[in-house]
């Protein structure tokens, strides 16, 4: 927790900001430090009581209390500081209320019924070959153009039998290690690089940040850890390896990416293949830190199960993603293509602390059937000459509800800060909705913030024009939607962009009668 205390020495970091949407932007002081000792005492008491759970068990009993957290921590053989941190988060969480400000309607999760930890299923439990996999699922993979070799891995077939993923993984790992990049599960990093994890974990999204981030801090299961040393440009997109291997990270994912001075990395998260999951609630946290001249590009394609066409089932995706451009001239780019989940609640944000730092947010969110997405970004300008760009494209079809919610805040000291926001919505049919909630707060006279917004309907006229040129309605819709999303897709790495395009096509199938 030392780093939290260090913040006091830097006036820039000592800005406490509570954001709409709940949560603290930065920890302003070190009450944390003070109550650690106190907590330790209490904790020790609890500890005695807590560890009655059989740690040999494959899963924790449903529900959440301190013993569940102790169980998770013990399962992962975590150091004491991390367990303490988790418990502190949990105790804070107990004092919080589930937020209701989002423009969303859903049944709140029953935390007493959730199993917060279960051991990853061994591959041996899965289907033995592709013949045992649901043909509908394979059909979708085919439509998405996913390489055959990956079908098996995605469908959960014992991968080793199909192709040698271990050696693929090792090749990548060797290549990365050569240049000093650390890329591993965060549970592994806790043991192999405790000093880094300890230094940065929870500094961007504090454990007290918001209801779901706090819950995540208490019970996170696993996630990725990336460290790019000074001056190193990551030689590859951190993707393929990840896609095949990052199954079973569980519903409470935690990712931490650190780019040292002059480092750069492009990280791809997710997968266009429809991911089915037994867990209805997903509450992930992602923290990015970019030091001087560092560059982090974080691209997401999210296609969790959205529920059926009547809105039954589907994943709740409540995610806190935040990056801090801590260094001068640093840059963080969020690009997301969100087509899945029944309910999405997600605002990848940038804290532009360093002078001349740049934050970018490019988003396509599609809601079909009864899906709801409340998504957007926060750009907090603190440093001088900071720039941010927000391009948001929302597409609603069926009964889908698409909400853009964004905050652009330009602090007093952010001389010459610039923001450009473009927020476009497209409606298909007359039963869906698009809503925009932009917040703009400018406290510096030299700053400029621009906001453009449009709402369009895929017009009968556009479709007729395409039809009249021989193009079928389905192809016409794909063409129009892809044109609409062009500015975002071109921010995605090439192969990801191709997949994202196909994903939109598949997601919109049968959306027009």
């Amino acid at each position: 927790m030392n780093n939290q205390a260090n913040n006091i020495n830097d006036p820039k970091k000592a800005v406490a900001e509570s954001l709409p949407g709940g949560g603290m932007l930065l920890s302003s002081s070190n009450p944390v430090e003070e109550d650690t000792a106190l907590l330790k005492e209490t904790f020790k008491e609890k500890y005695k009581w807590g560890f009655v759970t059989d740690i040999e068990a494959d899963s924790a009993p449903p529900g959440l209390d301190e013993s569940t957290i102790a169980f998770i921590s013990a399962k992962k053989d975590e150091p004491e500081w991390l367990l303490e941190w988790r418990l502190r988060a949990y105790r804070h969480w107990l004092t919080m209320e589930e937020p209701e400000w989002a423009h969303l309607t859903y049944n709140k999760p029953n935390f007493d019924e959730i199993i917060f930890y279960s051991a990853p299923k061994s591959l041996a439990d899965g289907p033995k070959s592709l013949d045992e996999v649901d043909p509908a699922l394979l059909e979708t993979y085919k439509k998405l153009g996913i390489p055959l070799a990956e079908h098996a891995a995605l469908a959960g077939v014992a991968v080793d039998a199909v192709f040698d993923s271990v050696s693929v993984g090792t090749t990548f790992k060797d290549k990365l290690e050569e240049v000093g990049i650390i890329f591993c599960p965060i549970s592994e990093a806790v043991h192999s690089h405790p000093e880094l994890v300890k230094k940065y974990l929870g500094t961007i999204v504090p454990y007290s940040d918001n209801y779901y981030a706090t819950l995540n801090s208490a019970v996170f299961t696993d996630g990725s850890f990336v460290y790019i040393p000074k001056g190193v440009k990551c030689p590859m997109d951190l993707s393929t390896y990840f896609r095949i291997n990052a199954k079973s990270t569980g519903q409470f994912e935690r990712t931490l990416i650190i780019a040292e001075e002059g480092a750069s990395v492009s990280y791809l998260e997710g997968c266009t293949a429809p991911m089915r999951d037994e867990n209805q609630l997903h509450a992930a946290v992602v923290e990015l830190i970019a030091l001087d001249d560092a560059d982090i590009k974080y691209s997401t394609v999210q296609n969790w199960y959205p529920g059926d066409e009547n809105g039954v089932g589907g994943i709740y995706n409540f995610v806190t993603k935040r990056g801090k451009c801590q260094g001068d001239r640093s840059r963080i780019t969020w690009t997301q293509v969100e087509t899945g989940s029944a309910v999405t609640w997600k605002y990848p944000s940038c804290i532009l602390l360093g002078d001349d730092s740049v934050g970018e947010f490019y988003s396509v969110a599609l809601t079909n059937n009864y899906q709801q997405a409340d998504t957007g970004t926060k750009m907090i300008h603190i440093g001088k000459n900071t720039k941010s760009t927000i391009i948001s494209k929302g597409i609603s079809a069926g009964h889908g509800q698409n909400i853009y919610r964004g905050l652009v805040r330009i602090q007093k000291g952010a001389e010459n800060a610039r923001n450009y926001t473009q927020c476009d919505s497209m409606l298909m049919g007359d039963r869906c909705g698009a809503h925009t909630f932009p917040y703009i707060e400018v406290k510096n006279k030299t700053a400029k913030a621009e906001h453009e917004a449009s709402t369009s309907k895929i017009g009968e006229d556009q479709l007729f024009y395409c039809n009249q040129r021989g193009i079928s309605t389905e192809d016409a819709i794909n063409m129009i939607v892809n044109g609409f999303c062009k500015e975002v897709f071109r921010e995605l790495p090439m192969e990801f962009a191709v997949e994202a395009r196909r994903l939109l096509e598949v997601s919109l199938e049968s959306s027009v009668g």
């Binding site: 007729f464 039809n467 009249q468 040129r469 021989g470 079928s472 063409m479 892809n482 044109g483």
Partner: protein, 258 residues
């Protein structure tokens, strides 16, 4: 006997319950150019939209045969593939979609329907270059999004260019001359004239006889209140210019076409 290219019989059509066409009869043989004139609101554009298959219009009575097949049975995209082309009065913009990309999709959809092989990028670009010349269309325009930022004249030229690319059997031009200056009008007319063959037919919808100086029609029809009230050769257009549509009504009783 040759099959008519287009045979419209007693066509009645409405939009949102409002009756617009009240029994149109029109027969076009291959190679013929027919001009349809008429006052505002007489149903000219509706006729074009109904031929092309716009869903908003409901055909309440009558039939349209295209090369002997029942056109009303086909969806709009199938009609296009079968060889019906409509040059729009107000071409629609499609943001984010380049004209080239759009046209390649169109050309190949139609080729596929006709059992021809799809064009690859090279052949397609060759074709683009050749056809663009025929309407003096700046080829750089085709890298722009469909009709986005095109001037009025560019839009109309692009429509004729698209017609050349898609090689239809029937070209329906809906007020392609509106908003064009005389030079642009000549270019567009020239483009259309180059496409006149003995197999291809045209329906030219216009307010003014000016266009018909350049695209000389075989027949001229006057549409009024949703019916063709008078037909004749190109001299009818001149007569209209002189007397106006009001003058046409007077001769309705002695006219054979009513």
């Amino acid at each position: 006997m040759t099959t008519p290219l287009l045979e419209i019989t007693n066509l009645h059509a409405s939009i949102e319950g409002k009756q617009i066409l009240n029994g149109v009869n029109l027969t076009i043989m291959p190679g013929e150019v027919h001009s349809i004139m008429g006052p505002n609101g007489s149903g000219k554009s509706t006729l074009a939209s109904v031929i092309a298959g716009h869903e908003a219009y409901e055909v309440t009575e009558g039939s349209i045969l295209f090369n002997g097949i029942d056109l009303l049975e086909l969806e709009a995209d199938q009609r296009a593939c079968a060889g019906v082309f409509l040059a729009f009065q107000y071409p629609v913009e499609i943001p984010g979609v380049s004209t080239k990309f759009f046209l390649k999709a169109a050309v190949n959809a139609i080729r596929k329907y006709r059992g021809q092989e799809e064009l690859d990028a090279m052949d397609f670009l060759d074709m683009v270059e050749e056809k663009a010349k025929s309407v003096s269309l700046n080829i750089d325009l085709l890298d722009r999004n469909v009709n986005e930022g095109f001037s009025g004249g560019e839009k109309k030229r692009a429509e004729v260019f698209q017609m050349a690319m898609l090689d239809p059997l029937l070209g329906v031009l809906d007020e392609t001359d509106s908003g064009l200056d005389i030079d642009a009008l000549k270019i567009v007319a020239d483009g259309v004239n180059q496409l006149r063959t003995q197999d291809r037919g045209f329906v030219i919808i216009t307010h003014y006889q000016r266009l018909l100086d350049f695209i000389v029609p075989d027949f001229v029809h006057v549409l009024k209140d949703g019916v063709i009230v008078k037909s004749g050769d190109k001299s009818l257009a001149l007569e209209l210019e002189e007397k106006g549509y009001a003058g046409i009504e007077a001769c309705k009783s002695e006219c054979s076409c009513a």
